[in-house]
């Protein structure tokens, strides 16, 4: 386990035992059921690096993102930003702190208020943070932001619906950068974009990271994209971290991580392969699983796996895995 005590100086964000439960029902119609969307996740986000999180739909990636930014409160565990626990911040302090930590959302189509022009959307961060601006300053700020993300300043008078998905996502990024944050959470920022646009955005994010010295938490369901873009990769399954790859080239040792990588069709007809299909479906998030969450679908699962939950252990060099029977 990565423990909070061992936080090296280089970590911007340290997450310890983070857990978030959601209850549904309990109203008129349904019995109350509780699920853990994020279950005891510990993680370091090193300064100036890209930390990737992958996993299938519903595994808790977005919930993790929200918890890290304290957009929702954790059921248990802590998130420390630059060494201080966010949970200890007052609402006022938290609002101030938001200047430093921003987010780019999965769906660029709904990330901007449809009634706002791009200019207004870009100025909102300043307004919300009470940064007084003259008209000229405001214009300069908007111009700078919009050019930073490679859009034409002519676009600022448009409404979101007049922009393409890629352009909207750029506006989303510009807006997140307005307050000069040091930490950016990217929640599947290209999931709804075409590949040709996805590549543009990734390119832009890389450039911005270098220029502005940003730290990223990059969330995606596309393992090959994550392995291309990230320095470290966390593989999540059903709210848990299954494996942490210390670098992009490391070979996954967890069966799930392996299957995830294997399911990715390689774009090369010369290298067609038969996929080792995973049996079964992802269990319901409401199900209480005593052992390894992946046991039911795992080719190597033993009784031990079903009985006892493997803890995340370091295989050396920061490669961590929660598995009783890792692949070799």
């Amino acid at each position: 386990m990565e423990s909070a005590a061992a936080t090296p100086e280089g970590d911007l964000v340290t997450i310890t035992g983070l857990t978030r439960e959601f209850s549904s029902g309990g109203g008129l119609m349904t019995p109350r059921r509780t699920m853990r969307a994020v279950n005891d996740v510990s993680l370091r986000v090193p300064r100036g690096k890209v930390t990737g999180v992958v996993g299938e739909s519903g595994c808790g990636k977005s919930t993790l993102a929200r918890l890290v930014l304290r957009l929702i409160d954790a059921t248990a565990g802590t998130v420390a930003f630059e060494g201080t626990d966010l949970a200890n911040r007052s609402p006022g302090q938290m609002r101030k702190l938001r200047r430093r930590m921003q987010m780019v959302f999965q769906d660029p189509y709904s990330a901007i208020d449809p009634r706002y022009t791009i200019r207004r959307a870009l100025l909102e961060p300043f307004q919300v943070q009470g940064v007084a601006q003259t008209a000229a300053e405001a214009r300069a700020a908007v111009d700078e932001l919009i050019s930073m993300v490679g859009l034409s300043p002519r676009m600022v008078a448009s409404f979101p619906h007049q922009l393409s998905g890629g352009q909207k996502q750029r506006v989303g990024i510009a807006r997140a950068l307005a307050l000069r944050p040091s930490f950016l959470v990217l929640d599947e920022p290209t999931a709804s974009l075409d590949v040709s646009i996805q590549a543009q955005i990734i390119d832009l994010l890389e450039a911005l990271k270098e220029d502005l010295g940003l730290t990223y938490l990059f969330i995606s369901h596309d393992l090959s994209l994550v392995r291309y873009f990230c320095d470290r990769v966390v593989v999540m399954y059903l709210g848990r971290a299954m494996e942490i790859l210390p670098d992009a080239t490391a070979r996954p040792r967890h069966h799930y991580a392996h299957a995830l990588l294997d399911s990715n069709f390689e774009p090369d007809p010369a290298r067609r392969k038969v996929i080792t299909m995973l049996d079964g479906e992802i269990p319901s998030p409401f199900a209480v699983i005593p052992g390894c969450a992946f046991a039911d679908r795992c080719p190597a699962a033993s009784d031990l796996c079903r009985r006892e939950r493997p803890v995340l252990t370091d295989l050396g060099g920061g490669h961590m895995i929660a598995c009783h029977h890792p692949r070799d």
Binding site: R66, L69, L71, M94, R95, K96, R98, R99, Q102, M103, F105, Q106, D107, S110, A111, I112, D113, P114, R115, E124, P125, V128, Q129, F159, G172, R175, L179
Partner: protein, 281 residues
């Protein structure tokens, strides 16, 4: 301005255009009544009572010999004022209540929802009659009664809107910028929730005109000699056999206006593409 675009689109559709024309006409009657009406609405001429429609009195006269055409024109004023003000009050209150319930949720929301659901399922006419019994007759109380009778509808709608909008990414994005509740509600949620509520309000205005007419049947609403279409119809029932025009013309005015409101509302709904959002209540 972009906000007017849907209205333009609505007017361009044939039904939208025709109904908009009717509405403009009705509103013009209400606003310019003193200029348009050939006679004063309250000048009685008893010997000329119940005159058939004809040259001097295009729509005939009523049981007091008053010019029906002039009364219809002035009636637009009362009927529209009552309906529009009642619905405006209702919309304003509904927006406030609904926004608070939808945004903050919790016990307040549950209380509001329970009361609203229940009143919503009582007929407006009953609610209005009971309220008038409590607050007394008169035009103002009629307005208040009508507005309370419709309050549930707008509260529900606003609440549903806010609940849906609350989950929009841009709200989360704005929160993430460090925005407070006030900013979120007034800069993002309400402006986006407004359109369907206003359109629903507009459609309800049609119903309010009919409700006012029905209250007139029970002798409530506009006080004589102030003409309102509803009051005119209800006092006309007694003349139905000898001077049917006294009831027919205001009836037509109501039908025409209500249909126009509905058709225009439909055209607007289409232009704004908010059918789903209206249904969400």
């Amino acid at each position: 301005m972009a906000a007017l675009d849907p209205i333009k689109t609505a007017i361009r559709s044939p039904r939208g255009g025709a109904s908009a024309a009717v509405l403009v006409l009705v509103v013009a009657c209400a606003v310019f009544a003193p200029l348009l009406a050939p006679y004063a609405y309250d000048i009685q001429n008893l010997p000329a009572a119940n005159t058939e429609p004809g040259g001097t009195h295009w729509m005939g006269t009523d049981e007091f010999g008053r010019d029906l055409f002039s009364r219809i024109i002035y009636g637009a004023r009362t009927s529209l004022t009552v309906a529009v003000s009642a619905i405006s009050i209702s919309v304003a209150a509904g927006l406030t209540l609904g926004a608070m319930a939808g945004y903050f949720g919790g016990a307040f929301d549950r209380a509001v929802t329970a009361v609203v659901d229940l009143t919503w399922s009582f007929p407006e006419i009953l609610i209005a009659l009971i309220l008038i019994a409590i607050i007394g007759p008169g035009l103002q109380s009629t307005m208040v009664a009508i507005s309370i009778a419709y309050l549930a509808q707008f509260t529900r709608l606003t609440r549903a809107q806010i609940m849906a909008l609350k989950n929009e990414t841009y709200v989360e994005a704005t929160t993430n910028l460090g925005a407070g509740h006030f900013h979120i509600i007034f800069r993002h949620l309400l402006p986006n929730a407004l359109t369907p509520v206003i359109v629903a309000g507009m459609l309800a205005t049609g119903d309010a005109i009919i409700l006012e007419a029905t209250l007139g049947f029970f002798g409530l609403g506009a006080q004589p000699p102030t003409p309102s279409w509803g009051a005119m119809m209800s006092s006309g029932t007694a003349q139905i056999f000898i001077a049917p025009w006294i009831i027919i013309f205001p009836g037509l005015a109501i039908a025409m206006t209500v249909i126009a409101i509905n058709l225009f509302g439909d055209a607007l709904i289409e232009a704004l593409d908010i059918r789903n959002r209206l249904r969400s209540s």
